[in-house]
Symmetry: C2
């Protein structure tokens, strides 16, 4: 059997068993050092699926740093250093590499960390593996598991910005600069993650890199016997989305498209007030006993509750075309530009 | 200007300046945490240059772990965890992935560490980035700099085994199993590195992944105003090399071919005795004021001292061919199988 027939979750499960380490599967790995937990995460990005031609070198660098920093943020860890293994095609211009490095540095600076090392290699396809190392106090760390019935479900920032920008690029529609920035220069929520962790109020957390719906399903799998009820009207879609999409479409993008590096977390009701004062968050629903439901208001003003499908994109199921050179990943329909894979 | 016209050292220098972190350039990055120094390193390996067809999945996995662990060993750090970002081609069989994971696990077990996380991705070319994280007491850490005139120059284990095995594979000569193991399953010298660090006797250290001559030049660059005098007869060539190469050729391979993941280090004379009792080491020369010289005995019995050329292989200068599919990296002369790049 071929790996791609299995899907990512089954492969990770297989690897976890082979390695005999039950902790593997979350986005980060942990090492306990006294009162601190060292958190580390690696992410592989490459030309064909992650760097569309509209992306500048600076944005490629920024994104390569941001995806791993977002994983740290989800656990409440503060980054202490980053490593980058960079595989460069033979015809890479030094100016382009400089731009990548500048993007990496600016994102690392933004998260108050720095690059401590890495590796350079010749590679047919531009490939960047960023590794972020961080730490968080043992009593503060946020895991995916821990959500309890009646906890509030919250997200930071706004959703759908990255998905809407991708839609605009695909359709050749003019896209507002701040939507494009959501897609190509997402802000890892380090400060927010750290604040949430220090509050000790959060019962479970993860980042929404795979889309809100997929992340809710993921969170439900990480917690036994819980579900969610989400209120569609509460979902904070990005204010500029309306320039590109109608409200119904905007909601779909916010639910099912990835690339929004916001945090999804659960908090007991009595502890929400203090968090509200510290970070930009929105309550979008509550933790229930089972099922993942979404409540919407129909045009006729009726309340309608229905299951929220996962529509999760497992990228290892999408078998890539073998090509001799990278194609335009956005305009070429045979190649999927994948913003839901981190 | 294109990156590949610069060569690796110039690129690293450029990146170091752009990042504003003068520590970058050694194989590992450092983070100070109290009395401990956290050491981390990432290495990118991929099909075309690192995994010849004679290499099994198990060996690919082992090698991917060994290269980064060797970097930790050179600093005297004990590994605390590893991450692997693995890019898999579309037609990868699950059994092959299992073998890679088994190789990774066995090597990690051997170094008393474990895999704590990673990333899986679809990629046209099998690409593995291993990251090793370790720690070492602040007062014990070994750097490349610190060598002093008259210190003894030492290596662990034996040299030339990997290079001789590669030669045998290229020529289609039968190769003893333990030479092949030196090439495909090198042992990262974690125990030796740790013992050397704890002895506090070592003044400078690095691993010999790029070949002894290149490593001596690298060590000389890391130390101001020092050189080396190496005695050819002292170099511990692998005992099985004689089955494949004549003594002169064996010496060349030991000097100029990479892939031997042994440690190269300098120690003051008065401290060598205690190390001799603890690890398998050979004194091959001494630290001098300048130049890197090698003393050989000619066939006529004369002593001859000459400069030891670097013959360092900077892999980024070797521009890879762009191909639609991986070639046999050993038998295809257009593609260099590179054992000197870690």
């Amino acid at each position: 059997m071929q790996v791609f027939e299995l899907g990512e979750r089954a492969i990770v499960e297989r690897i976890r068993k082979l390695l005999g380490n039950p902790d593997i599967g979350d986005d980060c790995g942990f090492i306990r050092i006294g009162d601190e937990i060292l958190v580390a995460t690696s992410d592989m990005l490459h030309q064909k699926t992650d760097f569309p031609p509209q992306m500048s070198g600076y944005q490629i660098g920024w994104m390569s740093a941001a995806v791993s920093l977002s994983d740290l943020a989800a656990m409440g860890a503060k980054p202490t250093g980053m490593l980058f293994a960079i595989g460069l095609p033979g015809d890479t211009e030094t100016g382009f590499l400089d731009e990548i490095i500048r993007g990496i540095k600016t994102c690392a600076d933004h998260a108050s960390t720095r690059v401590i090392g890495g590796d350079l290699d010749a590679h047919d396809e531009l490939t960047i593996v960023g590794t972020a190392i961080g730490s968080v106090k043992r009593e503060n760390i946020m895991y995916r598991s821990g959500a309890r019935e009646n906890d509030l479900v919250c997200v930071t920032g706004s959703l759908g910005g990255a998905g809407a920008a991708l839609f605009a690029l695909k359709q050749g529609i003019k896209c507002p600069a701040d939507l494009l920035a959501k897609l190509f220069e997402p802000t890892p929520r380090i400060r927010e993650g750290s604040t949430l962790a220090e509050s000790k109020a959060v019962t479970s957390a993860m980042d929404i890199s795979d889309g809100l719906a997929a992340s809710l399903h993921e969170l439900s799998r990480a917690n036994e016997n819980i579900g969610f009820k989400i209120y569609a009207e509460k979902i904070p879609t990005h204010p500029k989305i309306s320039q590109i999409l109608k409200p119904k479409e905007a909601l779909k993008v916010a639910l099912y498209e990835g690339g929004d590096f916001e945090l999804l977390f659960t908090v007991p009701k009595e502890k929400i007030k203090i968090l509200h004062e510290e970070i930009d968050l929105t309550i979008i629903g509550k933790v229930t006993k089972k099922n993942i439901l979404i409540e919407e208001t129909t045009i006729e003003g009726k309340t309608c509750v229905k299951p929220l499908n996962e529509k999760g994109y497992e990228h290892l199921r999408h078998r890539p075309q073998t090509r001799s050179r990278p194609q335009d990943p956005i305009t070429d329909t045979n190649t999927k530009f994948d913003i839901t894979k981190y």
